[in-house]
């Protein structure tokens, strides 16, 4: 019976090729546009580290000017970066299960070969806990431990790409790299790691490629590493040396902790409050006590990682899909009206309303399926287009299985919804009534 229905549907679709292709095109375009924007939205709003997003927390403490809040639009919010020495102290005290202070920098690499020119590479300056906290996958070796942090060891973890460039991709653990005139020992090489959004540093861009290497935070002073990310200041201080800069009230370090349960979270907050209380006695932190910790998804929401533009596009494109569905309904209705003769003949020959209804539904499901398939192709095209116009790292936005199945599903379902009313109308045709008039 199903096969018969499909055959009838195909026959009916062929009878009116222009109408049929118009319907398929309407669904295809609607699915193509809405799937494109939905995928972008889905990627932007996704959980970058689902297995740990509720145990990782970004730390914010209000050390801003006593005269005015950090953000005039949200006066209740503390600034969400820390001063260098506060972050350094918190790492040393190690009150959370794991913690890392971090910022973005860049170093000059001097390759061994005489012919090769020195080049600049981005670095994330972080504590050894970084790798275990964020489940960073390694190809070779691993991160460094807390003793390396404490002893200010010149160690480096490379990304796959940088290891490819420096060592031709081989196991480089134990090899040396010269940077800023200093020898660094490679302790690990990480595999491709693209948490999307880049949750650990939305301040300096939520959708960038990760830094090319990682080095210990405790090397900052010795190497005089400046931040290439944002720094915020409120206090006018005499700064004539790098050390004074590190001890200033400028905020430029991001801080993350790992806390396994709500009790640890509360304890950590009271620890932070005690720390600030201590600092207040020294005349710092002059604003009212205001410390916050945000888990990963709260942190993403705080930074409005999903751009307003993406939300606007999502809304508009679903209205677009609505237009496509309205077109399909109108076209189907017109088409079914044209089929009344055939239907009344079939009814007269004994076909029940249910049979007729089923057959119409099969026809629209087929149209929906075809539209969905073409729509998926259009969505892929749309996503490459979006990557091109936004200059995004290749492969950042892609259709995964979830999106592909939902696209086909949405198109079949919406095709059938579009077909319901027309199919019902057509079933109301009385048997043989139409035959008489002709």
């Amino acid at each position: 019976m199903f096969n018969y229905n499909v055959k009838l549907a195909l026959k009916s679709m062929r009878r009116n090729p222009i109408m049929t292709s118009l319907m398929v095109a309407a669904i295809a375009v609607g699915i193509g546009v809405s799937m494109t924007t939905l995928t972008v939205h889905y990627m932007m709003s996704g959980d970058p580290i689902p297995e740990k997003s509720d145990v990782l927390f970004a730390v914010a403490m209000d050390s801003w000017s006593p005269l005015r809040p950090f953000d005039e639009d949200y006066p209740e919010r503390p600034p969400h970066q820390l001063t260098f020495h506060d972050a350094e102290r918190l790492v040393e005290m190690a009150q959370a299960k794991r913690q890392t202070a971090m910022f973005e920098s860049s170093l000059i690499i001097e390759p061994d070969g005489q012919d090769e020119l020195p080049f600049e590479a981005g670095a994330r300056v972080a504590s050894g806990d970084f790798f275990a906290m964020f489940n960073v996958p390694f190809i070779y070796g691993g991160g460094w431990d807390r003793s390396a942090d404490e002893s200010r060891a010149s160690v480096v973890v490379l990304t796959r790409d940088l290891n490819e460039r420096l060592f031709g991709g081989e196991d480089s653990v134990g090899r040396r790299v010269t940077m800023q005139g200093r020898q660094f020992q490679v302790v690990g090489v990480i595999d491709n790691w693209e948490p999307t959004p880049r949750f650990y540093d939305p301040i300096n861009g939520g959708f960038q490629e990760i830094n090319e290497m990682f080095i210990p935070y405790s090397l900052t002073l010795g190497l005089e590493l400046g931040s290439t990310g944002s720094d915020w200041g409120w206090k006018s201080e005499d700064i004539t040396s790098f050390e004074q800069w590190l001890n200033s009230e400028a905020l430029w370090v991001q801080y993350f902790v790992e806390l396994d349960n709500p009790r640890d979270r509360d304890e950590y907050l009271s620890y932070l409050n005690a720390y600030v209380g201590e600092q207040k006695k020294r005349g710092r932190f002059e604003r009212p006590l205001n410390n916050e910790i945000y888990n990963v998804m709260e942190w993403m929401a705080f930074h409005e990682v999903v751009a307003n533009d993406a939300k606007v596009l999502l809304g508009l494109s679903f209205m677009f899909l609505l237009v496509c569905l309205l077109s399909t309904i109108a076209l189907l209705l017109t088409k079914f009206v044209g089929k009344t003769v055939e239907i009344s003949l079939r009814r007269a020959l004994g076909a029940s309303r249910r049979v007729i209804f089923k057959q119409q539904i099969v026809e629209v499901a087929l149209i929906g399926f075809a539209g969905g398939l073409i729509g998926l192709g259009l969505a892929r095209l749309g996503l490459s287009g979006i990557e091109a116009v936004y200059d995004a790292p290749p492969g950042l936005v892609r259709l995964d299985w979830v999106m592909m199945f939902s696209a086909i599903g949405i198109s079949i379902v919406s095709g059938m919804i579009a077909g319901l009313y027309p199919a019902w109308r057509v079933c109301q045709v009385p048997p043989a009534a139409q035959l008489k008039t002709q």
Partner: protein, 402 residues
Amino acid sequence: MGFGPMMSSLMRSKTGPLLVALQIAVTLAIVINSLFIVVQRVEKINRETGMDINNVVVVYVRGFGDNLDVVSSITNDINLLKSIPGVVAATVSNHVPLSGSGSGTGLRTIADETIDSVNTARYRWGEEGLEALGIELARGRNFFPEEVNYILPDDNIPAPPSILVTQDLADDLFGEEDALGKTVYWGSMEPSTIVGIIGHMQGSWVSWDKLNNVVIQPGKPAYTTNKYLIRVEDGMRDELMPIIEQQLGESNRLRIVKSVRSLEEIASRSYRRDRGMAIILTIVITLLIALTALVIVGLSSFHVAQRTKQIGTRRALGAKRMDIVRQFMLENWLITTAGALFGVLLTVVVAYWLEVSFELPRLDWRYLPIGVVSLWILSALAVLEPARRAASVPPAVATRSV
């Protein structure tokens, strides 16, 4: 004449026309709101920069190693750059306008910490800075060469006696009063005097509403990473960029040339989100209009085919070709207008949603009448061919049995 048969056929199948009207309404709402966003973004991208943006080259260099003397390295680089034929002017600068990277500061007209400051982007460059960017000084004077010194990262220099400000910043600070010669105070409460006013120039962050607020301090920043702004003769930019890169690269091995880019490209990168939005919405608008037009053509063609007999009968009873064309045009016009009326309402609702939820600017009301008139024209064009086909139905059809 004309309303009778039209109304009777419209009333006979209400759902079809209703759906088309609804589709037209939603189409109108999307197209008007999208078009408004596109126009806004295009206007934003094309704002006057106040700079000779097409002829400026930006070089990023970074020194390394202990043997590097940053000051002599920069001096040599600037001299080298100026010796290249075709280079008009060159300076070292702390930041690059329109790049999205910069530093901000607050200025006050009274040395009192408790009053709010006027926010502005802050630049620091040499006496050739204005020339290197092609910025015009409206009044006052540029920096004297003796006011410009090298500034090392650890130098804690006092505020400069002389500064330049843009007219927009001057207005924000002093309102109606003339700012030239007036004193302003930095966050440290140190004073500086405004010696020159720039008619117009854009600062660092293209999406900041105070983009035109810029203050310029004299000085040659000598940091680890340094930025050179170079203006070249009109039309020579693309030819000179590789030459600049090569000559700088060969002249000094104690620093690397990180990149050589045109200011135009840098600015274009800063606008990529806006450009992306404009491109995507333009595609959406085009697809939507094409789809709706095709659907109108498809449906009217179908109706014509359906009503061949009715048309033939009317023709046989004396209706002229023009009457038939008018019947279909009028029918279509009625549906379109119903859709447009509801569409205007829907457009306003969507515009309100965009304004309230996403802080987009309020829709300009003039888009509404323009949208409705365009819709009438478009839908009339879409139905023209099917209507003409209808008119060519011979009266004899009425007498035939199908």
